[in-house]
């Protein structure tokens, strides 16, 4: 959460809000080459428009990579964080299960 100021109006009177964690896939890309040593390639990233209307870019859960398609329903999930100093979990998007979709 940022408290610097609103991108729309500059107001510093900000209210925290939760996003739904559910949205639709706009685009995805399998990254074949990446320089950061703690994020070894290959991995997949995606752009998701959440049901709240926010655009979020995130890593895609490896279990979903093979079935990705535009407009697929995506949901968030916590995975084990492998990088140092980032806490225990990382938030990723993956294909929604049949019950979530």
């Amino acid at each position: 959460m940022q408290h610097y100021g609103c991108e729309n109006c500059g107001s510093q009177d900000l209210v925290e809000a939760s996003l739904s964690g559910r949205g639709r896939l706009v685009a995805f890309a399998r990254v074949h080459m990446h320089m950061a040593p703690d994020r070894p390639a290959p991995f997949t990233v995606g752009s998701v428009v959440t049901d709240d209307g926010a655009v979020v870019r995130a890593l895609i859960d490896p279990g979903s990579e093979d079935a990705l398609r535009p407009d697929a329903v995506m949901t968030t999930r916590l995975v084990t964080e492998t990088r140092d100093g980032r806490g225990a979990h990382d938030l990723r998007f993956g294909l929604a299960s049949k019950t979530e979709a």
């Binding site: 685009a27 890309a29 074949h32 752009s47 870019r57």
Partner: protein, 380 residues
């Protein structure tokens, strides 16, 4: 009341110069920059002492590198400023040099871009805001995502998009200042090293070094210094802006469309009148997005027209005749200045084997991380 450059006194590019863009070498930035400046001065036919103000664009060299370079032309005490604006650094330096001359503060100014590949990564300071994928989405992956989105939206294939690289490598092969000077087949481009998504190495701008310089003059300067007015190219407009809230998916294209429109309106030209376009094609999909943003074709129509040769040298509008960022290269500070140099060469009719016949109007476009956008229209 705010004013446009075209409301002020006319400004012309009267000299252009380059140090060829190239892969990282032991050549000092001073050598790179001086070659470009001396070539631009010789092209204009003016001595260094005639330059009343200098704008030095660099993004990767560190603080205050201009004077240690310019002093070797004669340290005559003229004003000097450094400009860093990411990929648009050179375009920004050009705009501000034009503003100074248009405003009547100087009659002759220099805009020079110079950069070398840094020996160590120069990180941007953290904003302190967390991001789900901050360490995963570098520029080529951002554009790999836009490639995937464009391909899905308009039903084009990775092979179609790679045709941009075939064209631009072909143009770069005719440009002695280009970093990549080799004709490439579609098979070579698609079969190269996979980078991100469907982007391969030959569809991405190379990292390199180089320099580009232009001399800008007023009509008074041209007369006083005896510069050949027949080779002076008018800066018809200059427009600039930064990203607005509300377009998180593809801010560069939305911003580019707005600033290109402003620049063409100021110059009183329509997209169909553009003979030459040099744009920020760091990755193949960018040429599609930004060409469509100019209005030379409708969204989704770039690929069919590209296949017809509409955007080739000799076609309706030559896009990236220099080879663009993909083949000419993108050493950062020089890039925007080099685009202006290419357009001036084309409008003068001095582009040799890559001359687009009858070119009268050209548009130069750069975006920079941020995002910022700079667009200039030049006319014969």
């Amino acid at each position: 009341m705010s004013r446009l450059i075209s409301d002020l006194r006319p400004v012309y590019v009267v000299g252009i110069g380059f140090h060829p863009y190239q892969y990282a070498s032991e050549t000092t930035y001073v050598t790179l920059g001086l070659q470009a400046i001396r070539e631009a001065l010789a092209d204009a036919g003016v001595p260094w002492s005639a330059v009343e103000s200098s704008y030095v664009a660099t993004a990767l060299l560190g603080m205050a590198v201009g004077r240690p370079m310019l002093r070797h032309l004669g340290a005559l005490g003229a004003p000097l400023v450094h400009i860093e604006n990411a990929s648009a650094s050179g375009s920004t330096a050009f705009r501000h040099a034009c503003i100074e001359v248009a405003a009547g503060i100087s009659d002759v100014a220099l805009a020079v871009g110079v950069d070398k590949v840094p020996t160590a990564r120069i990180p941007r300071s953290s904003t302190g805001l967390p991001n789900l994928a901050e360490d995963a989405i570098v520029p080529f992956t951002h554009f790999a995502l836009l490639t995937n989105e464009y391909a899905g939206k308009y039903g084009v294939t990775p092979e179609d998009i790679a045709l941009v690289a075939v064209k631009n490598h072909g143009n770069g092969a005719k440009n002695p200042n280009a970093q990549r000077q080799k004709v490439r087949t579609l098979e070579e481009i698609l079969g190269g090293k996979a980078i991100s998504g469907t982007l391969t190495a030959l569809q991405c701008t190379p990292v390199g070094e180089g320099a580009a310089a232009v001399i800008i003059a007023s009509e008074e300067g041209i007369k006083r210094l005896g510069i050949d007015p027949g080779r002076a190219i008018r800066v018809a407009s200059s427009a600039a802006g930064s990203e607005e809230v509300g377009n998180s998916l593809n801010p560069d294209t939305a911003l580019s469309a707005k600033i290109m429109s402003q620049a063409m309106a100021e110059a009183q030209v329509s997209p169909k009148e553009l003979d030459i376009i040099e744009l920020h094609d760091a990755f193949t999909v960018e040429e599609l997005l930004y060409a469509e943003a100019t209005g030379v074709c409708e969204p989704g129509q770039f690929i069919p027209l590209l296949k017809e040769g509409v955007f080739d040298i000799g076609g309706q509008c030559a896009i990236s005749p220099s080879g663009g960022l993909i083949a000419m290269g993108h050493p950062i500070g020089p890039t925007g200045v080099g685009q202006v140099g290419e357009i001036v060469r084309q409008l003068r009719g001095e582009a040799g084997v890559r001359q687009h016949a009858g070119a009268r109007t050209g548009l130069a476009h750069m975006v920079g991380v941020g995002a910022v956008c700079y667009v200039h229209v030049l006319q014969k």
